[in-house]
Symmetry: D2
Subunit: 344 residues, 4 copies
């Protein structure tokens, strides 16, 4: 390949700074040419030591910096829609952190804008599709060796939730990963959702409904259940068991070292998603850089981002109303029919 | 201890013959003195080599044989109520295979009959309470080391279902084990049930709704979900994960030998419940013999048998009607308040 | 079967008391009719509640009690030879705890005495042959599915050693179990032994060479290595990996419950051989009672006991001299050629 | 960081081509500017699509190409000494695939040449030091949480050996990885070695002594045993268990997906070292590129390469002579005393 891909990064917070570091020396083939963040000090800190990088307050200015060939959006979700449309207006390929747009209506506007362009420019940051274990499970399911998938049993546990976390966010922030993973693994849409609420853990903040148990139905008749428990105390644990007609497969229980001491043989449990999915983030961004340099767009589409938002909204309704909710998706534009990533 | 306990066994089918063998030389302290089965030939076959055993066509005759001090009921469920009442009438301690009585109304009549006696005579054959793994899990939960239990995730898989198996039986025959195990592990009653029906496996017989996904709510606010899949093809697999406030514990994935060959490291999966729970059956019957010889009754009570039937009936209604059903239990007689086994 | 087998138990210490309890109500078909121990108080304590049992100071008196049909020897090893010869003189079947006789010369005298009788009366208490995991491994090796065994990697770890434990005892007390297990699993004699001495653990008592690493060569060209570490601190851990031409199989790492808390997923490690091998002891004694009631003798023979002593003696020489020692066995009497348990 | 590091690659065979691909787009911060291979056709094939790369027949010509700032040596071992000395003459940093030099005498000449330079230029390609599992084990041992290491039990298995593989190569090609890993993990030199030879597997080529069992002693009194079995048939399996005073730790048994079907729960075993250690190779080269761009040299030194050769030579002698051999190392030049990687 030729020259390095010039990337503008919008947002220099926790996730943005991590991506800046990754683009600078974690992956090959890219360089950071501009960064935008309202807090220009933290943007400068995140770009210290990078030759010739521009720091801006405004996203548009960062997009217009010389040498920008692609955009990585890591600003807060509320700013995503504007950022995506600005990138589309300039014809710039985008990697947009999840959520695509927080609400389904906004996400649908992005879908429609890209559909009007007539070609894909954006990829959504569902990094689990790049995790080695998920890739292996997807490959096994696609191989047909286990027959049709009947159920997915999923677990999503965090040590503790940040102070701003709400009961809705267990679904539209945490479970949104399972929503995308299930659509991708099964190649099916999620069509309905129920949320069951066990009595909350005494370790959860008051008024937080934690844990929750979410059950999705799919267009192919499968069930997807998710235990989401964001104050489990012991670790960051993401597991998925696919139960198929001819066997089952389980990821998320693997271990790399078994330590025996004081009466027990123990495997360490990761404490943090940046640890658990570090390699997945690297592969995601490397894959995006490689594809972009070749003029291609692959990975999760804005349709996937929209579908995740729509399912999450139905989930939040189900949480509030206590009964099953159906998911109503807009018609899928033709652009997303042939992208090789579409759920059927 | 002194002389051997004289036992009448009602039923000499698959399970009855197994118990006859077990009483004769699998456990200590008992001897089989009489057996009743309408098919006296198979009763004779099952008792071959046992000195002085009587074989009868009629249960009542077997109960009245000289030397009978206790009864083990392994006849078809439909015959249980009559057998139990006959044992009660003679003051004989009983170990009754599950189900106590197939329908909740009949089970309640047994409860009332024993309550009128004013003392416990019967134990129900929920053998999982005697399985080493379940006992370990129960002990851990009771210790409080993991805090309050929030959820139980259960799996119940069989290689294939017998030809007479119906969709209702996934609940009232298979899941009835999880119903009792959950009540016992949590020390709570199950108060409501929902049944979700994924698209059936192509390996299930036509018209059999297999697998099913059953979710129970409990009197303490916990959730119990059960995947029941009786044509999974690969093995007999019973697992339970208890998710608690301060940690989780999982049984059913243990292995005793890891064999590596041809590109894979494999653990054998049991094919049959008589293999998986062989030790549990032995311990159950030994425990019953020991207690009976000491004039005690312990283990699952007829109240537990009734509760399992009532919950299973609600489950079957939920399967048919497609919506959540509540469980309505009769008032619990005082006899079952203090037995040390009661769910609260 | 008919009446209960009357057993005399010699020795009422830790192991003897455990066997008395087992014969009384752990296994079926036997009753304890007499017990001998120099400390008659502890013998009385061990037999409390057993009807009609006689307690003696002298072994011979216990053997001569009315109703004695078989003998279980659980006295100290130094008393075994005399006890075995006394049982042989009375034609009584014997189950003799390991070691058969502490020294190979004494063990050989027992072999010769039984050979003169012309029939087997004694079984040696190598209980691992009755452990479910070892039985499964043996069965797999015998099946030929993995091809010829090339190596056994063994681990034998104890939490801590009793105060009287010597460096020699790591071999002739601890490793003696692996010696028998290897002969049995491979159906081969052990022909040479080397002992390597890593720098002792700081947790071992001063002057105790702990751990040791013992390597045996076999008559079929296989290697058997054993890590023996009796002050490992964390648990009682017995593992064996058989490496064969077409695959490998490992036992001793199985778990029955996985507990996740505080950053780790842990399996409990047994602390004690009476816990780890509880079922094996039960099966061993039940098997002996059953065989004896049928007039048969099976299980490890006195030849096996002699071979274990001879190999252990060579091991102790190798430990002292720091170089490989060959094992010289006496010719095997014909009686032990056809017993179905002989190594080839 | 600034411009890309210009790298000359010597050797375009299996390993060299893999490194060319890795430098081009697997890691960041480097570019391939020249390649040397006697077979210029395969060198051209390996560099297809790389802008401006020069292909040469002679190593010296590749080193003299404009823009060369560092060298990666992936030619056959016999060519390493000359390549290293040529790089030293030009002051170029080198990453040299293992073995440093096939024989200890040649390796020592490289050590002396670098010592004369007075600064480190070369790193040896022992990639296990970059494997996530080994790194975790090293970190645990260094933490002191398990106390002093007493023994390492290692397994090194390959599916099958290439046709040119000799009995010596089990030690100086395969076990050389364990030699370096043990020195690194324990921070000790290996001082003596014994090789035990079980009867070869019927699946090994005739005359190949496979498997072998190698036992090393260390300067700190630890033991390191290695089962090396290069025709095990079932997979590429590298395991290491460290037994310490206060516990043990094991790597190499981890799994990422458990598949249950047809009576067994199975984990896949990698078939190939390029699969098992793919990430380690990436991290190794990335780490070398990063350090070189910063003017630093880290990683395994030529002293480590020499020590591995000297221990392997003693191992081959032990294999041939059937008795324990001591390892005699030359005095360590002061240059390697302070490199932070030295065994003590």
């Amino acid at each position: 390949m030729g020259d390095l891909l010039g990337v503008a990064v919008l947002g220099a917070g926790h996730m943005g700074a991590d991506h800046i570091r990754r683009l600078d020396h974690g992956v090959s083939g890219a360089r950071v040419v501009s960064v935008a963040d309202p807090d220009t000090d933290r943007a400068k800190e995140a770009t210290a030591g990078i030759d010739g990088v521009q720091v801006h307050c405004e996203p548009q200015a960062a997009l217009d910096a010389p040498g920008v060939e692609a955009v990585l959006v890591a600003s807060p979700g509320a700013a995503h829609e504007e950022a995506l449309l600005a990138a589309f207006a300039r014809g710039l390929p985008v990697l947009c952190e999840k959520p695509l747009v927080p609400d389904a209506a906004g996400a649908l506007r992005v879908v429609e804008a890209e559909a009007r362009l007539g070609r894909r420019l954006a990829q959504v940051g569902f990094m689990r599709r790049y995790d080695a274990e998920y890739v292996r499970l997807k490959s096994l399911l696609d191989s047909g060796r286990l027959g049709r998938a009947l159920m997915l049993h999923c677990t999503h546990r965090n040590v503790s939730s940040p102070s701003h976390f709400t009961s809705d966010m267990l679904i539209n922030s945490s479970v949104s990963h399972e929503i995308d993973a299930a659509r991708w693994l099964l190649d099916q849409e999620l069509t309905a959702v129920s949320v069951l609420r066990p009595r909350p853990s005494g370790n959860a903040p008051e008024d937080l409904l934690d844990p929750q148990f979410v059950v999705f139905e799919t267009s192919g008749g499968a069930l997807v259940d998710v235990e989401v428990f964001v104050n489990c105390g012991f670790g960051y644990q993401v597991r998925c068991e696919a139960v198929c007609e001819d066997g089952s497969a389980r990821i998320g229980d693997g271990h790399s070292m078994l330590v025996t001491r004081a009466g027990a043989a123990c495997e360490e449990v990761a404490q943090d998603y940046l640890v658990r999915f570090a390699d997945a983030y690297d592969r995601e961004v490397q894959s995006w850089v490689d594809a972009t340099r070749q003029g291609r767009v692959s990975g999760p589409s804005v349709w996937d981002g929209y579908a995740a938002s729509a399912v999450a909204e139905a989930g939040v309704r189900a949480l509030h109303q206590g009964v099953r909710q159906t998911v109503d998706l807009a018609p899928r534009p033709g652009l997303y029919e042939d992208d090789g990533n579409r759920p059927r």
